[in-house]
């Protein structure tokens, strides 16, 4: 027996938002290297090695990983269960029954807000069972939350 992949992709803006989120620390690192180069011009080979490492890091984490993640990420909410696929190098498929859902949280980071995205976290009584649906368009996220709280009838039972 197998499970087919969930149907829905995250927002089209997701790769862009992930890229921006990853770019910020890398650009800070690049700026630090630039300052270092301006202050101290000896050790040219070391400068080149550091610059090359940063360039590779930027290409991998700002370009490749967001696109890769976008290819992998999927989510779907069925009548009885939530099902997601996520990750890139390590990929995860996670399913949780809606009857056992305890809370439904939305989270919007600064970059998410800029692009109108939201992340939904569905928690169950197990700390290992939380299902995250990331990088949804805000209106989709709102519908997801409304739908989940509707089905779950949260608080009706102990859910352990």
């Amino acid at each position: 027996m197998d499970l087919v992949d969930p149907a829905n992709r995250p927002s089209r803006k997701a790769p862009l938002v992930w890229a921006i989120g990853a770019a910020i620390p890398w650009l800070i690192l690049a700026a630090v290297q630039l300052v270092w180069f301006v202050i101290d011009r000896r050790l040219t080979s070391l400068h080149i090695a550091a610059a090359a490492a940063t360039a590779v890091g930027i290409v991998v984490f700002v370009v490749v990983v967001p696109l890769w993640r976008y290819r992998v990420h999927r989510w779907e909410i069925g009548p009885k269960a939530v099902y997601t696929r996520s990750g890139w190098l390590i990929q995860e498929r996670r399913i949780a029954p809606i009857s056992r859902v305890q809370t439904v949280d939305t989270y919007r980071g600064p970059v998410d807000r800029l692009f109108g995205l939201a992340n939904v976290t569905v928690t169950t009584a197990s700390s290992a069972g939380a299902v995250r649906i990331v990088a949804l368009d805000s209106d989709v996220a709102d519908r997801v939350v409304a739908r989940l709280t509707d089905i779950a009838a949260i608080g009706a039972e102990d859910a352990t």
Binding site: M1, D2, L3, V4, D5, P6, E76, G78, P79, K80, A81, Y83, L89, I90, Q91, E92, R93, R94, I95, A96, P97, R100, T124, A125, S126, S127, A128, G129, V131, A159, T160
Partner: protein, 496 residues
């Protein structure tokens, strides 16, 4: 409830704590008191030491006057703190278990500490602990506190009732044979040395007569034999300490089942009693550390909601004959097959992965050694060490591959894995509230996956490592009908 305990009155702890608190306070403030004594002798004014002692004792006495608790209809409250006042409230329907604990001093005075635990992990200062009440009051308080979550008819409030119910296991001296093989003795030695050095006694020791004679002996007999003697002494000491600790902690252990409640009593000097609510039992874990396994032993942990997964909290049986642990677990979960039945292996891909992982370190070391022979000469012992390392790794890989397996039906998910610590997790499928199939890059290439069952009990996640990828969802679907009935379920093309 018409017992006085449910009225809206604040109760004090046992007045005998007026004796215990000052002693504990003095023990807790030893560094401060040592400082005061030093200050007193340095200034030539012993009043410093006396004043510090008096303040400490006074503080201890104040603790009794400032601590009170009350039991209301829907919650219990505890007020504590001399300078910082604190109120801890616990809703009564959240109380999962009540534990008691009596140190030596408490026992002498007939007192018992009563701890209430809820599902949440409580931090040190938010634990609801009544420290301490009279031992005779414990059954009454226990039944009041658990009245909401446990419907028990006994314990109406007089003296402690005679233990009833069926005894599942009782400690026997032969269990001691598993304890020399643990690291607790070594850990105790290291901890003791740490305390000695922290207290600044290291310098004193260095110049003591003992250290001097040790140095003389080392000069006389040579370094190698002295080191050998030192190691032998440490090992012997650690074995003795391990056995002693095991005896003191678990001697007189009794595991008793009383309808829906499981009682675990143990401890010679420090008496402890755990009460587990059987309705929250979601399975059990048999753990066999390598050395214990060689002697045919196992320890048993309960998998329960509201009880932390590892360590002391979940322990039902310390290392004991594997047969005993298996019988007890089979009795608790009422399914002998889940406990002792054969498991289904994970196939050649999983075995291959065990071997490549175990042999990676020796292989890399061998390559490094071969490469460096071109520049330096490698001594013979390096090759011998490498050979021993490779042999151990191979044995480890073979054992881990053999151990790997799972077993699943509608009621129980069983996962077995490990070598240095072989564990067999038996998890009730009804308690599984989520499934994860995780594949790393290499797992995808090898066509295997790690299946993780999420539950609210025990360590919260139980893994079935490296199952063939096409089997992972079948296991989940067998255990949880809601997976099989979901809209995503499809019969797979490949033959499993």
């Amino acid at each position: 409830m018409t017992t006085p305990a449910t009225e809206r009155v604040w109760h004090r702890l046992s007045p005998r704590m007026l004796l215990v608190h000052p002693v504990h306070e003095v023990l807790r403030q030893i560094p401060l008191l040592v400082g005061a004594v030093v200050l007193g002798s340095a200034t030539g004014n012993p009043m410093w030491s006396v004043a510090a002692l008096a303040i400490t004792v006074g503080f201890g006495i104040l603790r009794w006057f400032t601590t009170s608790f009350r039991i209301e209809r829907d919650e219990v409250q505890l007020r504590t703190g001399v300078l910082q006042r604190k109120v801890i409230s616990v809703p009564r329907n959240r109380i999962r278990s009540v534990q008691t604990d009596a140190r030596l001093l408490h026992q002498l005075l007939g007192l018992t500490v009563l701890r209430v635990s809820t599902g949440q992990e409580a931090k040190h200062d938010t634990v609801f602990a009544l420290d301490a009440v009279r031992a005779g009051e414990v059954p009454r308080l226990r039944s009041i506190l658990l009245a909401d979550s446990l419907t028990r008819a006994d314990d109406t409030g007089e003296e402690r009732t005679v233990p009833t119910g069926r005894v599942l296991a009782r400690w026997s001296p032969s269990w001691l044979r598993y304890s020399p093989l643990s690291f607790t003795g070594l850990a105790m030695i290291v901890a003791a040395l740490g305390v000695v050095y922290q207290a600044g006694l290291g310098a004193v020791l260095q110049h003591s007569r003992l250290a001097e004679s040790g140095r003389d002996a080392a000069e006389k007999f040579g370094i190698v034999s002295s080191v050998a003697v030192a190691v032998a002494v440490v090992v012997a000491l650690s074995v003795v300490l391990s056995v002693l600790r095991s005896l003191v902690t678990y001697g007189n252990l009794v595991l008793r089942r009383d309808a829906d409640v499981l009682h675990l009593d143990h401890g010679l000097l420090r008496k402890r009693e755990h009460t587990f609510d059987m309705r929250r039992l979601r399975g059990g874990t048999l753990r066999q550390p390598l050395l214990v396994r060689l002697l045919g032993g196992a320890r048993l942990d309960a998998v329960m909601t509201g009880v932390a997964g590892g360590g002391e909290a979940s322990l039902l049986l310390p290392p004991c004959p594997a047969g005993t642990a298996e019988t007890v677990l089979a009795g608790l979960i009422e399914d002998a097959d889940a406990v002792t039945g054969p498991v289904r292996g994970h196939g050649p891909a999983a075995t291959r992965r065990r071997w490549t992982r175990a042999l990676a370190v020796p292989a890399v070391t061998a390559i490094a050694l071969v490469v460096s022979t071109f520049s330096v000469t490698i001594p013979l012992w390096a090759w011998i060490v490498l050979a021993v390392l490779a042999l151990c790794s191979a044995l480890l890989a073979a054992d881990r591959a053999r151990a790997l397996g799972h077993r699943v039906d509608e009621r129980w998910l069983v996962a077995r894995a490990g070598s240095l610590e072989l564990r067999r997790d038996c998890i009730a499928t009804a308690g599984v509230i989520g499934w994860t199939v995780r594949q790393t890059f290499f797992q995808r290439r090898a066509g295997v996956a790690t299946l993780v069952a999420a539950t609210a009990a025990g360590v919260k996640h139980y893994r079935v490592i490296d199952v063939p990828a096409d089997l992972a969802w079948s296991i989940a679907a067998t255990a949880s009908p809601w997976v099989a009935e979901s809209q995503w379920a499809r019969a797979s093309q490949s033959v499993t």
